[in-house]
């Protein structure tokens, strides 16, 4: 009885892991293919998304674009690339907005919209699930 139950639990776990891998495609940072930037460090990405950095290393202005709060890719992005939780990000912007020192990046509600926004603007930077990649976008490699 005991062994059977353990076996069942193990199977369930394995199946759920497989499902996760299949469903959750990887979140990548992208820029317009017209943007000369090929790679950025995690620190640079963090600074751009927390409003501390307003230009790319090559001097061009940077316009970060966010997904809406309800998007799963958003929380993945923040936890993977910035190492911060949603409430932390919220507190960060809350303080900047309240004290008048910054505005959060504009949001788009879907991966498609993100792809569109980034492709349109050579200064833009965004993130999306790799499912939404297309030719107009370039994945920024992380140093």
């Amino acid at each position: 009885m005991q062994i059977m139950r353990t076996t069942v639990i193990v199977w369930i776990c394995l199946l759920s892991l497989m499902a996760g891998t299949v469903c959750a495609a990887e979140v990548v940072v992208v820029v317009s293919s017209e943007n000369p930037i090929k790679s950025l460090s995690l620190t640079q990405i963090t600074d751009i998304y927390l409003g501390r950095m307003i230009r790319f290393p090559n001097g061009n202005p940077v316009k970060p674009i966010d997904l809406s709060e309800s998007s799963p890719a958003r929380s993945q992005f923040y936890s993977r690339y910035l190492g911060r939780s949603q409430p932390q990000i919220k507190a960060h912007w809350s303080k900047l907005i309240f004290t008048g020192r910054g505005q959060p990046p504009p949001t788009v509600s879907s991966g498609d919209a993100m792809a569109e926004s980034v492709a349109e603007n050579p200064d833009a930077i965004g993130y999306l699930s790799s499912d939404f990649l297309d030719d107009r976008l370039r994945v920024v490699t992380i140093d």
Binding site: E69, I89, A91, W93, S94, T99
Partner: protein, 775 residues
Amino acid sequence: MPPVDSTTRWSRLHRLIEPPVLSILMAFLFLAVIWAITFNLIARENAAADRTAAAVAMDVADTYEAQVVRALREIDHTLKMVRHQLEDHPAQEVLEDLRSEALLPPEIIFTISIIDARGEILGSTNRSSLPENMAAMDFFKRAKEQEDVVIGQPQRERESDEWQLTFSRRFREAGNRFAGIVAVSVHAGYFVSGYESDALGEHGVLGLVGTDGVFRVLRTGNAISAGTAINYYALVQEDTPADTPAEVTVNPWDDTRRYTIARKLYEFPLAIVVALSEIEQLAPAGRIERSYIWRAAMASILVAAIAALLGRLSWQLQKSRTRIMKEQAEHARNVEYLAYHDNLTGLPNRALFSQLLYRQMQQAHRYGKQLALMFLDLDRFKAINDSLGHEAGDELLKKMGRRIGESLRESDIVARLGGDEFIMLLPEITEETQVTKVAGKILAAVARPFTLAEQESRITISIGIAMFPADGDDEQTLMKNADIAMYQAKEGGKNSFRFYSEKFNTDSLERLSLESSLRNALENKEFCLYYQSKQDMATGRITGIEALLRWQHPDLGLIPPMQFIPLAEENGLIIPIGRWVFKTACHQNIAWQNQGFPKLSMAVNISKRQFFDENFLKDVGDALQESKMAPELLELEITEAVLMHDMDRTIRILKDVKQMGVRVAIDDFGTGYSSLSKLKEFPLDTLKIDGSFIQNMIPNAEIKSLTTALIDLGRSLGFTVVAEGVESKEQADLLKIHSCDQFQGFYINKPMPPEEFTSAVRKQLKGYADTASPD
């Protein structure tokens, strides 16, 4: 008595500046200064910290007020903008349009919703965070009723459980009918996100309180709360000006003392609350205060230690100084004791006795009392010293001192003057018997045998007593007279005492004075020789000279030999004096010969002691040899008494004298009861008949026959007979008849000093020459 008081006060004051007390006082002074400075600094620090906290609170409040007002205006602006759009757009499209135009505030913080009159949500930027129907919400009800912006009670969000604030305004349909509300929901934390620990610390406060007394949000450190109700009017004084400094009050919501500023916002039914924890703000000052107190305590300990050290050192210094002073005083007392006491017997010495005597004399003088001064001298002290040794002598003196002391009365004083002399002072004497009694006791005490150097010795003493004021009213006289009395006691027999008596004063005094000056006379060249000539009876020519000793005393004048020769005999001074006479007489005679005088004999008188002195012959020989005078010119005159004293010895000496060629004369013959039978046994040359016979032979027939008999006796024995003391022509003529050989005396010549004698003799010689030449 004021002087005494001031003296004690002065001495008390004086004690304050003694080093040990001074160092303690200085230490207290230092401590007082240290602590005064410390408390002053602490007070300043606290005041500064207080001012700083109040100022920080004010700064933070100003900034916070501005931020809140801006944030509220933005929200109200959004409300108004949405409401405006609703006037000619369907609710579903308004939010989408505004959003696409980026006219809405960031969704991450703000949720904008449009709600219809029934409370149904027509549109929202974040629908999932909202309940299905809003009709029950307080802000909905209130917004429905009023035109102004409504700030709802804080609500917990469904998903995150965070406090949410909702701002709302109503909107109307055509016909001015209530159509619904526009609402902006914000996390309450948004309004306190400016909380800076740097300025507010961990226990400061940022908050918004509604005019209804309910906190919309309240943050302390990282803790955010909402909904707490307080007495709004107790917290916010709406009429106080904006620049009123923060005051410390107890915040009622958590009972903490804080520098609190609560300021009503101008356009909104809200007040901001900014507060700084008093404990937290004053903590640095408290740390400084503790460090100051710690330093002051250390400094105090140091000062106390130094003061203790200094105090101890100076106390020791003072102690040793006192000790040195004591030792010096002791030493001085010792020195004084030694200066005034005889160190052998411990009795007062002469100096102290002199003082005591002076004092007692003054007392006695004032009260008309008598004093007795006793001189005491040991009779044979020198003999004891010589035979038993000095130690025994010292021992004797010590014992003497004790015995004398025991014999005296309480009030009497004994002192040692030195040597074997003691002196006693007996005050309060009313009759002589008192003194006699004491003197007797002393004699009796001393009469008991002394054990000295393990031998029994018997000592006798002599005591001389002088009374004050009868025998002298000054120290010198009293001492001298007591001394004289003692001398008399000694003369009168051993172990006796004598009171001073006026009658033996002169004798003794003269004698004492002569004796002492006689000792110096030879040295001071006070002696001289007078010369008297001897004449031939038949021719009257000068045949010889007699030298006569005279003493020219500086004070007493010329003293005749009678007065000092016996003294010189007694103390032996006659020997050197006689020696001087020989030499002087012989040299004078030679000098005269060199001046052209004929060879005249020179007669010198010899005393008994001189004659029997062992060096007598040598002295005579030396004088002859030195002067180169012919021995036969020298004539030694000796008296009958000398001649008869020790006949055998005299004959022996005289034979030696004759051997030398010197002549011998017997002087003052007739007065000494000489044994005429023995006379011829002496080898004599001249017989001089005493002047008393010559001067009395004219009036007295008996003496005249006696004198002629003497002349005959001398001539029959073959002596040259010389008559002494011839004073008149009658005497000279008579002697001439009776065949006397020579004479001397005032008739021709009196004794004269050498110069006078020279001229006299010269005249005489010339006279003879004159009378001789016609013959």
